[in-house]
């Protein structure tokens, strides 16, 4: 290899990688703020769907299922909502909703269940007596065609109205428990027993104690 070759190779690599890096950085700088905002909006919308009757959903803490960060929320209903107009430091007028006479009507918890090939990310809402109202799957990487049936309505609807002791997967027909998806028992178990049940148990241990203390 001659000296000219070495210079050529160096220039080649530097030029192409710098151009490539700049293009990617440019696209990233344009997309990432929008993406962040959209994800935030989607999260809010998802919480709203979990508990449509709540006027206010507030994050109250974090727990660590499978070493992951997961939040839990309290849903409140207000006896009255006042809208105040406030001015911030810059003098812009902003409307702030004020909740008067809040009453806790339930909880929402983010849970993770260890599935067949991924961690399944779930949102569960329960009422004041810790009976499941609704669950939804936020993300997963289960086998397409088998494990991904956990996203289907017929599976998710089984959870409505189940209390913690009935969150058990059964193979075959069942009325009061959760029926496993054919060919995806591990994924069904992950959602039901590792994900939702642990989330609800956490909520019970967390919030029942508070009631006793108070």
């Amino acid at each position: 290899m001659t000296a000219i070759d070495m210079v050529k190779i160096t220039v080649n690599l530097v030029v192409i990688y710098v151009i490539g890096g700049l293009v990617m950085a440019f696209v990233y700088s344009k997309t990432s703020p929008i993406l962040y905002k959209k994800i935030q909006e989607e999260k809010e919308a998802a919480l709203k769907v979990m508990m449509p009757e709540a006027d206010e959903i507030k994050e109250v803490g974090e727990w660590r299922p499978h070493e992951k960060h997961a939040s839990y929320y309290v849903a409140r209903k207000c006896s009255e909502i006042k809208i105040r107009t406030v001015k911030d430091e810059k003098g812009n007028e902003k409307q702030i909703k004020e909740c008067i006479g809040p009453e806790d009507i339930g909880y929402i918890v983010e849970c993770f269940g260890k599935g067949y090939s991924s961690y399944i990310h779930i949102l569960t809402s329960v009422d004041k007596n810790f009976v499941v109202k609704k669950i939804s799957i936020l993300g997963h990487g289960e086998t397409p065609g088998l494990g991904d049936e956990i996203e289907k309505d017929y599976f998710l609807r089984q959870f409505e109205g189940k209390s913690v002791e009935n969150l058990v997967v059964v193979k075959g027909e069942t009325q009061d428990k959760i029926q496993a998806i054919t060919g995806a028992t591990i994924s069904s178990r992950a959602v039901t027993e590792d994900g939702v049940r642990k989330g609800v148990e956490m909520l019970i241990s967390r919030f029942s104690k508070e009631v006793k203390k108070g």
Partner: protein, 208 residues
């Protein structure tokens, strides 16, 4: 071996003569991993058409500038760059689609077929033939994905594009990896038979 071909021949070569899956038997990993539903197969196929065409165009346009000794890392950057950009743009502006196929976009980086075309064809040819080759190869791949996933979803789930057709799951094994190998093998044999019987070719052994 190298004789000048018309752009049309180059385009058709990618679809039939050197079809990535059925003739060259490369990039079989995604062909089996993703094709258990028609929708997934089509989504990955379309993404590959785009990446393959753009990579071929870029490699061909800068082929004289690339030093032969370091062509591999440069191809890698071009492929990874396009995939990353598509990934970021889709994640932001097409979130509904991205949720379905986001997982598969990223694995395009490791596609043997895209790399192979950059190396074998685009780095030695002008921009227009390279573009036609990329388009042909990409559409050939898309075609293979559609055929494979059509049979697998229909037989394995009794559905097509998510709509129930057979009502039940006739052959569950078809959506498992084993069914993928079976489908690809049988289809490969079928296309070889067509080639030998009707076109006087030598099957897959005559390609390349």
């Amino acid at each position: 071996m190298i004789k000048p071909k018309s752009n049309r021949e180059i385009f058709l070569n990618g679809i039939f003569g050197e079809n990535t899956i059925f003739r060259m038997a490369i990039s079989l990993c995604p062909a089996i991993a993703v094709t258990n539903a028609l929708k997934n197969g089509v989504a990955l196929g379309v993404s590959v058409v785009f990446v393959q065409t753009m990579v071929n165009l870029t490699v061909s346009a800068i082929r004289k500038f690339i030093h032969p000794k370091i062509r591999i890392p440069i191809f890698m950057l071009i492929i990874a760059g396009y995939v990353t950009i598509i990934d970021m743009v889709m994640a932001t502006y097409a979130r509904a689609v991205y949720k379905e196929i986001g997982l598969y976009i990223q694995i395009i980086v490791a596609f043997a077929s895209i790399f192979a075309r950059a190396e074998v064809f685009a780095s030695k040819n002008r921009v227009v033939p390279a573009f036609m080759d990329g388009l042909g190869m990409g559409i050939g791949f898309l075609f293979a994905m559609i055929v494979i996933s059509f049979f697998r979803e229909l037989l394995g789930k009794g559905e097509l594009w998510g709509f129930s057709i057979a009502g039940g799951k006739p052959l569950l094994i078809m959506i498992l990896p084993a069914g993928g190998f079976l489908t690809v093998g049988i289809l490969m044999a079928f296309f070889n038979w067509i080639d030998i019987r009707f076109f006087g070719g030598k099957g897959a052994s005559g390609a390349a």
